[in-house]
Amino acid sequence: MYPPKIGYVIPDSVTEALEFLEKHDDAKPLAGGHSLIPMLKLRLLRPSYLVEIRRLQELKYLRKDGAQYSIGALSTHYEISKANIPLLSETASKIGDPQVRNMGTIGGSISHLDPSADYPAALIALDAKVKVVGTKGERVVDFASFAKDMFTPDLNQGELVKEVLINDYSGYKYSYQKLERRAGDFAIVGVAVLLKVDGEEIKDARIGLTAVNTKAVRATEAENVLKDKICEKTIEVASDLAVKYANPTSDIRGTAEYKKKVTKVMTKRAILTALGKR
């Protein structure tokens, strides 16, 4: 309940924050605080300083430039859920509970990288890119490589996530299906599906899985099977194939076996919901 003693830094700009973070290897940036503060309260972390970035306006924006969304790192789940971004907004609306969504940010979520987080399923399906900023400048990496492992983002000392970039998939059909024990919980299994449908045929398919690996994965074989005429059989086969990409662990949310089985169920549900057949 009680955080350990910590210093506190209020920078006036992103540059000041980056310089401080570069000089203090165990300082932690504070965004929405809804992963960091709970960890401090359990004393799982003992940073020397918290660097308050959450009020830096430079990281608060959400805009569409042509066919690309630029989502500032400090955009909250609530703001993203209201932004009508295909797949991503629906995914944001299923994170935690309303109070959490009012504070939590996309930059914080992906810098934390809980393996059961919701965004990664969608971000990997959307081929999202992450813009990272450091004292020496900016770099852009694919989300898939940014997420190195559970709780392990591709961030060096003195770097922050600046924004998430995704293409506009308007015209695609999509669904994020989250299996949870109760509203507000993390996913037991989460499946994000994006489909480009032309008449009776699926031309492009993207399936992202979360909570069943150390990081989100694309179920590529399942995607390939779906790129065909829409029929019950290919949907069934694709849902079966998605299970190949699930390597879950047994924990309080269920056994590994159960999670594999529901990966199939949730994949099928996501495809059918995206197609409007459910």
Partner: protein
């Protein structure tokens, strides 16, 4: 840039229920403790893992769990707690509805529940039952079984939409 060391106190200013408050705090202090020390003891603590919502307050127009915000973060903010809802002893329509529908028993979750209902009804003035239940899913209650809370939020939404003036409790 301001840098505070771990033993250094930070002076913060914020508004609670419309009143200016000055408060001196260690950086690590949680907003929920600060509010309670300042006398707003309607803000409750029901857990230590950010699940229960008994500490819910409105901060700059958004419902937040004050156990997951540091007091220093609230510097310059405007906070509304349950103590600030009634005006001159007249209950807010949400408070009235909770009373009329028997939506509380022990009353420990009630302040947080009412503040979340306040935010929910600002967002969705005419919510469905499903939207109400989702809307209060960050607020746990051990006593009521939620049914009467849902009824109360429905009633409150009617009262607010009809613009009924709060009446004095007899």
């Amino acid at each position: 840039m301001k840098v505070y060391e771990k033993d250094q106190k930070v002076k913060i200013h914020f508004k609670v229920n419309g009143q200016d408050v000055e408060y001196e705090t260690e950086p690590r202090k949680l907003l929920v403790h600060a509010l309670r020390e300042l006398g707003f003891t309607g803000v409750h603590i029901g857990c230590d893992t950010s699940n229960c919502g008994a500490c819910t307050v409105i901060m700059n127009g958004k419902s937040v769990k004050s156990c997951t915000v540091l007091a220093v973060e609230a510097d310059g903010s405007e906070i509304l707690t349950v103590e600030g809802l009634a005006k001159d002893g007249k209950l807010h329509p949400i408070q009235e509805a909770f009373w009329e529908k028997h939506a509380l028993q022990c009353g420990y979750c009630t302040p947080g529940m009412i503040m979340e209902a306040y935010w929910l009804l600002k967002e969705k003035p005419d919510p469905t039952e499903e939207e109400i239940r989702e809307g209060i899913s960050g607020n746990l209650c051990r006593c009521t079984g939620y049914q009467n809370i849902v009824e109360a939020v429905k009633l409150a939404s009617q009262k607010l939409r009809l613009g009924q003036t709060p009446y004095q409790r007899q």
